[in-house]
């Protein structure tokens, strides 16, 4: 499989108003896309500062419009927007709007891909400068750049072998691996994943030290928090919960007062969760949701004064 066949295999088959399958003219479309993109980038770089806000607003508004319309217009029920035929005019409009959502998402991904290049450029520049000027700890920068280069080369080589050279899927079996496949496995599974797990496991120690500071009884709030945490933690200890529960059962039998059942650890912990914790979380979620809605609305309508228009 060559690159052309690979790209053709990746593209969608079904066409919509928003998505065309270029077929054999793929290279031509790629060239046209590149030329248009380069021209657009050049034009954008010449836009005067006072027009930048309008350009950004226009792009933001157009990109957000399909999502807003898709939210408001009745979305055809259990529809496959690519393969189904709409039943009436209302559904036709619904199909048209919902088909537009995917290409906008794809465009965002493409922009994200370009921006990743900008990010990598920043990373390489910062560490190259550090090495060049022999700044403090420049050795770490050298290790970073070397790791970055080795991982990129080995990763692409491994992918190329698996996607283009290996037609039969023989590389899925370890016995057929080539040296580069072993190298990729060592770098990714053997080193990267292990370091990632090590970093994650450190959180356990950080939780301990943070909990120690947070649960020191300094104020009423800290005392309440510590008491609640203690009840919830004790509730997770099966033997203790059982023994405590049995003690309460005996007390109820002796005193004849069923109200004491509320003091079982699991009942008290459930009460804390359902009556205190969940309402608080829901209240915070309402506030956050409304804040996100307001922020999104301001961005979409170009009312936000922050960012590049500050």
């Amino acid at each position: 499989m060559n690159l052309m066949q690979y790209m053709l295999a990746q593209q969608a088959i079904e066409e919509t108003f928003w998505r065309k399958a270029p077929g054999q003219g793929l290279i031509l479309w790629v060239v046209i896309g590149l030329a248009l993109g380069t021209g657009l980038c050049f034009l954008l770089s010449t836009v005067p500062t006072n027009l930048r806000k309008k350009v950004i607003f226009t792009f933001t508004f157009l990109a957000g419009l399909p999502y807003v319309l898709a939210f408001l217009w009745p979305r055809p029920i259990s529809a496959d927007f690519t393969n189904d035929i709409p039943r009436n005019k209302g559904e036709e409009i619904g199909f048209f709007i919902n088909q537009a959502v995917e290409p906008v998402g794809t465009l965002t991904n493409i922009l994200g891909g370009f921006l990743l290049g900008v990010g990598i450029f920043s990373l390489v520049r910062v560490h190259s400068i550090r090495i060049k000027r022999r700044q403090e700890n420049w050795g770490y920068s050298l290790v970073l750049l070397a790791s970055f280069a080795i991982m990129t080369v080995v990763g692409f080589w491994d992918w190329r072998l698996r996607a283009f050279v290996d037609q039969t899927g023989a590389l899925n079996v370890r016995d057929n691996w080539q040296p580069v496949n072993y190298a990729q496995d060592l770098l990714f599974e053997g080193i990267y994943q292990q370091m990632d797990s090590a970093m994650f496991s450190m959180i356990a120690f950080f939780i301990l030290s943070a909990a120690y500071r947070a649960f020191r009884i300094r104020s009423v709030e800290a005392t309440v928090m510590m008491a609640s945490a203690l009840i919830l933690m004790l509730n997770l200890m099966g033997a203790l919960t059982y023994a405590w529960g049995e003690g309460i059962n005996n007390l109820v039998v002796q005193t004849g007062n069923p109200f004491l059942m509320n003091f079982k650890l699991n009942v008290f912990a459930d009460w804390l969760r359902s009556t205190m914790q969940i309402p608080a979380i829901r209240a915070i979620d309402f506030g956050v949701g409304l804040g996100a809605l307001a922020m999104g609305l301001r961005l979409w309508l170009g009312l936000e004064k922050g960012g590049v228009t500050a």
Binding site: I13, E14, F71, L72, P74, I77, S78, A79, D80, T82, N83, D84, I85, R87, G90, E91, G94, L111, L115, L116, G117, V118, G119, I120, S122, L123, V126, I129, N137, Y140, D196, M199, F200, M202, I203, F206, I207, A210, R213, A214, I284, D285, F286, G287, V288, L290, G291, A292, A294, G296, L297, R298, L299, L303, E304, K305, G306, G307, V308, A310
Partner: protein
Amino acid sequence: MFNWLQGEQYLDTAPVGIFVTLLVVVFILVNISRAKKGSEGLFIRRISGLNAIDDAIGRATEMGRPVLMVPGIGALDAISVQAVNIFAQVTKSAAQFSTPVRLCCGNAAVYAFAQEVIRDVYSQQGMGDRFTPETVQYISEQQFAFAAGVSGIIHREKVAATFLLGAFYAESLIFAETSNAIGAIQVAGSTQVTQTPFFIAACDYVLIGDEFYAASAYLTREPVLVGSLVGQDWAKILVASTVLFGTIFQSVELTGMTTEHRAGNAMVSVAESSNGERTEERKKKTDTMTNRLFNPFIPEELTKIEREKKETAQAAEGEGE
């Protein structure tokens, strides 16, 4: 009954969900309009986490150390844009005292956006030359590689203050505890309710919930932002009222007797019950008017609609068989 409104989103909560959303949008736009005409009478309560910004920058200036800012590891969305907006204000204050800042990004799009914003802030302060490649840095898209990178910067540069605002996950505590270990002042805020407790346990000041979104209005007193905040408050009153009245109506209704109830794919009157006897029973939670308002009864045939397939799809299905 619902044939005129065949939309998936209308089946879930009836038009109520869409109507409430539009009402909130109207609240926000009306208040922005009001604030533009004059925002003097609009009050924002004191938020201690945001008052601490100047103290933190002052401390960094006295110690001659940088201020670290992290907008989380989320993609470029409302949360990261808001975080960068707050950081623009922090940078503005820091630039006035020539205090260096470090903004570490875990997403390339956020990095590109933050770089533009922070560079603009320095230019506006007439200090364009102070913006260096290290001011805004891209670290890594991988969660723990990013955590390790930022922790390294905190340790090596001995930052005096850290601002952790945005979408954080498991790495939140790594940043907070590393900053605490070197004695930095920490101001944190996350929209993730699962991470907020970690920040409360480990940081000096925490923005909880929508305080994060109120921050730019609080810091800038920009009429559009203040108006938007008041609109959000109106919406919160609406939500709280709905919860309150819903609770009361639901409680009152549950004390009554039912005349009909849901049975599978139909509403069955008590008078038509299977054994032919009229038996009154207490209403269930699903029988109340409040519940039905938000969960309308939808016949099953309306939730699944069969459509004709395009010719190409039919051919593909034929090949598959």
